[in-house]
Symmetry: C2
Subunit: 395 residues, 2 copies
C-alpha cells in the first residue's frame, strides 16, 4: 500500500496498472572480469544496463528509481580480477514473458565480453507464474513403467540416411533394451528423410519393437524450425502418437520453445543444449535452471570425460539443479551425454544416481554389432541401478 | 546426374527426394584454440560434429560420406595457438530452414569452448532461397524521403514511465529532427506501459510532430515475446500504422525473427543485438551477415569508443557486410549505437559514411534540455553529410 500510495503521489503510474505490478525482485548474479579498483563502478553500471539503460543522473522519476531501476545487491571480490556481482532486477520489468525476462537477465550485458551470467534466483511469485515441466522426471518414468533404475537413451543418426534405414535402426535400438530412442538433433525436414515420413516410419518401428519385447520404448523425434513449422510438426507428433519429442532450445529460441511446450505439445519434452549451451551463461544455470523454467521434462548435457569440456563439478551442478525442489516445478530428468560409452555406464550411474537417463549416441552405432552393443548398454544400466545412490552425493 | 545415379545405385535415397536435394556447399570458418600438433585432428572432428555427429569409421553409407558428411576445406595455422579452420557443410543438411542452418553452422560446436564461428560463405542457391531484407537501406530512406544524408535515431526510455510520458518524449524527439524514434528494447508489455496503449500513444505523438514540422518521423515500437505474442503485436502495429519496428533477434530467437519478418510484418525491421551479440559468433558475421540473412532492414550494433568493447575494425566490418553486394539481398542499414554522443557525430559519419543511421540513446535523454540536445544531434547529422565518404573507406 505504501508503494502504491507513493507512486500515485508521483503521478507516474495509474492505480490499475499498479495493481498488476509485482513488487518482488529477481537476484541475478554475474561473473565480472575487471580490475578490483573499478569493480564498484562496473557493478553499478551493470545494474543500470540491465534495467533502465540510462545513466543514473538521467533517471529522475521517483517511481522508476524506487521500483524499476536495478540495484547492486552484493559485490564479492575474487582472485585474478574475476569477481561476483549480484543485482536486484524488478519482476515487474519482465512482464512475466520469457523473452523479456532473458532481456532483463542478460540483454545488453551479453555484449560486454567481461560479463557472464552466473546464477539467477527467482522469487516465489515469479516461480508461481510459470508451470515448469509438465511431466518431469516422474512423468517420464510413469510413461515407461520404470520406477527406480536409471534409463537408457540412444540416438538415430547419421542424417543423410533415408527414413526406412533410420526406422530399421530405431527398431534395433528399441528391441534391444533402450527406453527412449531420440532423433539426432541434426535430423530436420531434409530431402533425404522428410520429417513426416521419417517420424511415421520410426514410430511404427518402435511400436512393433515394444509389441515384440513386451516392454515400453518411446521414440522422440526432433522438432526444429520456425514457429509455424514447429506447430505443424507438433500436429504430426500428436496424430502419429509419438511418446516424447526432442527440441533444441537455443536453435528454436527460448520463447518459442516455451510456447511450443505449454501450448502445442502433450508429451514430455527433452531439451538439447546445442548452439546456446556454451554461450556466456553458466551451464548449470542454463541447462539445470532455465531449461526447467521453460518446461523441459528432460535435459541433455555434455557429461565430463567425453568429447566436451564440462568438468565434474559443472555436471553435478546441472543434475542437482534439474532435480532439486524449486517452487512447484516438477524435477527435470538429467540426461548426461556427449561421448559416453558402455564401459563408463557404471561410473556414470554412481556419479549421477538412479534418477538419470544416460544417452549413448555414436559409440553404440559405431559398434560392429549394434544390437549386441545396445543390449550391453541396457544391461549395464540395469546393473548400475544396484549401487546407484538415491540422490547425487556430490551435488 | 552422376550424383543422382550414384545415390540410386547405393539405394539410400529415392529419386524424388534427390531431385529436391541441393548439392552445393556452405563454407563455415571457425577460430579454433588448440595446440598446433592436434589441429588437424580437431579440424576433422569439427567437420564430423557439425554434420553427421558420428566418428568417421561409423559413417559407412557411401551417399552420406560423399554428400552429407562435412569436410575440412582449409586449415590455416595461426599464432598463439589460435587457428582458422574452414569446413564444407552440405546445403542439403540445412533443409533451407533457419533453425536447422544455425544447427549445422554452430550447433554442438558451440558447446566447445575452444571453437568460435568466425565466418560463413553461402553459395548462390542458398542465398537465392532467402529473401533477405525486404526494404533495406534504400527502402528506409524512401519512407523517410531522405536520400543522401545520414539518418538520426533516438530511443524512448527508461522503462517504468507510463505511456503518456513516453509519448510526450516521443513527440519531443520527433519534433526536433529525429528520423526514427525507437522504443528502448527494454520496453515490452509491462504493467506500467502496456504494449497496445504505449504504441498507440507514441504513434499519435509522432504523427502529430510530423504534421507540425512538415518532415517525416517514423516511430518503431519494440516487439518482444513468444511467437503468439509477436504475431499479436504485429497485428497492432499494422492496425496503428507504425512505420517500422524494432526486434531483438536473439531474444525472440532467429527462426521466430525470420518468420515474423517474412510472414507477419509489412514495415522495415530494425534488429537489436542484445543477448546473442557477444556469444561466440564473430560480431561482423552475426550482425552484418546473419541478421541480413534473416531479413533485418537495419541493424543496431555497439560502436567503438562508447560503453561497449567493439573495436574500429569490428565496427567497420559490420557496416561493410551489412551494405556490400550479396546475392539478390538488399543492403541492410548499419545503426552504430551504444554510447554515441552529439560531439562524436561528425567522426562517426566520417568513419561509417552517409549510408548510416546514428543512434543516440541515453546521452540525449540525460541532457537538461532534451529538445535542444535533440536539435543539436539532428544538426550535427545534417552537417556531417557534407564530408561523409560515399562508401566506407576503411572497410
Amino acid at each position: 500500500m505504501e508503494i502504491r500510495a507513493e507512486a500515485q503521489r508521483s503521478g507516474t503510474v495509474s492505480s490499475v496498472a499498479l495493481s498488476k505490478l509485482r513488487m518482488s525482485w529477481i537476484l541475478a548474479t554475474y561473473r565480472v572480469r575487471a580490475p578490483r579498483e573499478s569493480l564498484e563502478g562496473i557493478a553499478h553500471a551493470l545494474a543500470l544496463e540491465q534495467s533502465v539503460e540510462l545513466p543514473d543522473a538521467a533517471v529522475t522519476d521517483a517511481f522508476v528509481r524506487e521500483h524499476v531501476m536495478g540495484r547492486v545487491d552484493a559485490i564479492c571480490p575474487g582472485a585474478d580480477d574475476v569477481h561476483t556481482v549480484t543485482v536486484r532486477l524488478a519482476v515487474a520489468t519482465t512482464g512475466l514473458d520469457v523473452a523479456q525476462t532473458l532481456n532483463m537477465l542478460f540483454g545488453n550485458s551479453a555484449l560486454h565480453p567481461h560479463v557472464e551470467l552466473a546464477d539467477v534466483a527467482f522469487p516465489p511469485d515469479f516461480l508461481a507464474a510459470f508451470p515448469g515441466p509438465r511431466f518431469g522426471l516422474d512423468g517420464i518414468r510413469a510413461r515407461l513403467g520404470v520406477l527406480r533404475r536409471p534409463l537408457a537413451c540412444a540416438a538415430l543418426k547419421p542424417q543423410g540416411l533415408p527414413s526406412a534405414r533410420l526406422a530399421a535402426l530405431c527398431h534395433t535400438l528399441a528391441a534391444n533394451g533402450i527406453d527412449v530412442v531420440k532423433d539426432d538433433h541434426g535430423l530436420a525436414d531434409q530431402a533425404y528423410a522428410p520429417f513426416a515420413e521419417r517420424v511415421r516410419a520410426c514410430q511404427v518401428a518402435v511400436v512393433r519393437a515394444s509389441r515384440e519385447t513386451g516392454r515400453t520404448c518411446i521414440y522422440a523425434p526432433s522438432l526444429v524450425g520456425g514457429p509455424r513449422a514447429l506447430a505443424a510438426q507438433a500436429r504430426i507428433v500428436r496424430d502419429e502418437g509419438e511418446g516424447a519429442v526432442l527440441v533444441t532450445t537455443a536453435l528454436v529460441g527460448m520463447p518459442a520453445f516455451h510456447e511450443l511446450v505449454t501450448r502445442d505439445l502433450d508429451v514430455p519434452v527433452i531439451a538439447h543444449p546445442a548452439l546456446g549451451g556454451a554461450a556466456r551463461i553458466a551451464p548449470p544455470l542454463l541447462v539445470g535452471t532455465l531449461f526447467r523454467w521453460l518446461g523441459a521434462d528432460a535435459a541433455i548435457f555434455p557429461s565430463f570425460g567425453g568429447r566436451f569440456a564440462y568438468d565434474e563439478a559443472t555436471c553435478a551442478a546441472i543434475a542437482h539443479r534439474a532435480r532439486r525442489p524449486l517452487g512447484h516445478w516438477k524435477p527435470t530428468l538429467p540426461v548426461p551425454a556427449g561421448g559416453l560409452t558402455v564401459e563408463r555406464v557404471a561410473d556414470a550411474v554412481r556419479f549421477y544416481g538412479a534418477d538419470t537417463m544416460l544417452l549413448i549416441g555414436g559409440s553404440l552405432l559405431a559398434a560392429p554389432d549394434v544390437a549386441a552393443r545396445t543390449r550391453a548398454f541396457a544391461d549395464a544400466v540395469a546393473r548400475g541401478a544396484a549401487d546407484a545412490p538415491a540422490a547425487l552425493a556430490n551435488a
